[in-house]
Amino acid sequence: MTRLTLDKIAKSYGTVEALRDIDLAIEPGEFVVFVGPSGCGKSTLLRVIAGLEEITAGDLNFDGTRVNDLTPAQRGIAMVFQSYALYPHMSVYENMAFGLKLAKTARETVREKVEAAAEMLQLSELLDRLPRQLSGGQRQRVAIGRAIVRDPRVFLFDEPLSNLDAALRVQTRIEIAALHERMAETTMIYVTHDQVEAMTLADRIVVLRDGRVEQVGAPMELYDRPANTFVAQFIGSPAMNLAPARPGPDGLTIPGCAPVPLAASGEGLRLGVRPEALRLAEPGEPVFNEGPATLVEKLGETQLVYFEPEGAETPLIAKLPGALPARRGEVFRLAVDPADLRLFGADGKAMEATPLPQPA
């Protein structure tokens, strides 16, 4: 049950600023995921919390106590590394017991804890093996077990699934979710560049870019109400369509499309529409875009249909049901619900869009 507060945390390497003004509060028992493109500082932030990197400025508090100058072990964190980082010359048992032995824990206690963790992770049969005799998934579980036995206050994961193949990744993701259920009192922080992992695992997601926090929120909150264009395009696959919008008497217009009945004013507005919000227009419904498909990608249960409305800089992508026999060059009439549209100002921040007053 540890509450973390980050107060104006900054980290720089010489003149390069890796993190700037990070303010964040992580509640006890919360599962928080740091996500962002590579180089956004998410791993650095995790290593700062772990104590593997010194903090340049700001305060890091665990339960209100400043821990800036404590070692990782003193902070009571445990970490699962991307490459597992198991000690190659030690058996599974010794790998898991290493931290406890260094802490001079009584031998029986070590045995109990390691066996309990091994039981939980289905490693009991493998305790005498060396890491090189294990498969990737088993190594990953040993790495997790090594972290569990230390009863950490904060559990850190640094891209733990990126070395696994696709099938194993899904399975391990589910195991990590189950682990969080069982260790409900332990605060967990997880770093990934994969938004699917972020969406499925997180209680709250922290989106980072260029060493800054872009938005913090529950997964669906980020999906439904992105605070800015970066988050809007980062969360969701394929990315949200964004196009410059011009206000007019009939509402907002984006190049090559019909106006949508939203009222807004200002310069440099941008309108966002998720590919999955676009659908085929019913007869008699106002058409948002009409044109030939320039590319069709079949994904199975869905398909991505690309359009190039006149004057648009980027293609408009629609996610349509897979059963539809769509072909390149075929003309589609697309409709959209105005409530599914997102409006962003010239600074990229989300704006409130009000429905255009209906003419009486």
Partner: protein, 277 residues
């Protein structure tokens, strides 16, 4: 086609035989000579025509040779232990701790081994005198560091640099101190490198002649290479070739034994890779 193959194979083995003969013959001839006595030594023969262990008996029983042998063992073992301890800790700092002038320091360490022994002899002699080590084994242990440390530091630094950083960080997270990281995590993985460099250091210390001749003056603190060179016969005019060869064979045996004992480790060191857990 098959004839061609046979010919190639024959040529290959002839080459191998040639190389083996070239490298083993001097040692073989030393053994041969050591088993002969009197005028038999001066007749050239390539097969043992006598099996006389008298030379060995006289080397081991007369004079200070057993004492010299123990001195050599002591010096070589001490050199290996001290240089490996210093090199492992130095390598950790040089490969893992970022500090200003690290590259320069590494080059300086290497440059020490560029000077020929004779060039540093006078200066070293002054140092040995200053430390009060003249005519003691300590003078040899100290001076041998000059040529063992550069390569042990370099080899171990390269090995340690290749250790995954995450391994060290995992140990830090587990609460290990730098010393515990070196001893409990790195050393077990560095075994092959330690054995290989340790063996090379041992061989160098074991065979060293010039310093041993200069810094030690009395019979009972001499090491074997000097002792052999100074072996003299009953009269000043007679060179006791038989005994010299017997002594040479005796001092070679520990090296052969060491290499045989550690050969699997050495091979492991040469083929090591994929430390990643």
């Amino acid at each position: 086609m098959t004839a061609m193959k046979l010919l190639k194979r024959a040529a290959f083995w002839a080459l191998v035989a040639g190389i083996v003969l070239f490298s083993v013959f001097p040692f073989y001839y030393a053994i041969l000579t050591s088993l002969e006595t009197g005028s038999g030594i001066f007749t050239v023969s390539y097969w043992p025509d006598a099996l006389d262990l008298g030379n060995y008996a006289s080397v081991m029983n007369e004079g200070e040779f057993p004492r010299n042998f123990l001195n050599s063992v002591g010096v070589a073992v001490a050199v290996v232990i001290v240089s490996l301890c210093l090199a492992v800790t130095a390598a950790y700092a040089l490969s893992r701790v970022p500090f200003r002038g690290r590259g320069l320091l590494l080059l300086t360490v290497l440059s020490v081994s560029m000077f020929p022994q004779i060039a540093v002899l006078a200066g070293l002699f002054e140092m040995v005198r200053y430390f009060g080590l003249y005519n003691t084994l300590g003078s040899l242990i100290l001076s041998y560091m000059i040529f063992t440390l550069p390569f042990t530091v370099w080899v171990l630094t390269t090995f340690m640099r290749d250790m995954p950083v995450e391994l060290e960080e995992a140990a830090i997270v587990d609460g290990a101190t730098p010393l515990q990281i070196v001893v409990k995590v790195f050393l077990p993985l560095l075994w092959p490198a330690l054995v290989t460099t340790g063996l090379l250091a041992f061989i160098q210390a074991w065979n060293e002649f010039l310093f041993a001749l200069t810094f030690v003056a009395s019979n009972d603190t001499r090491t074997v290479p000097v002792a052999i060179a100074l072996l003299s016969g009953s009269s000043g005019k007679e060179v006791p070739w038989g005994e010299i060869m017997a002594a040479s064979v005796i001092v070679t045996l520990p090296l052969v034994a060491l290499v045989l004992v550690f050969q699997r480790r050495i091979v492991a060191g040469l083929t090591a890779g994929g430390v990643k857990g």
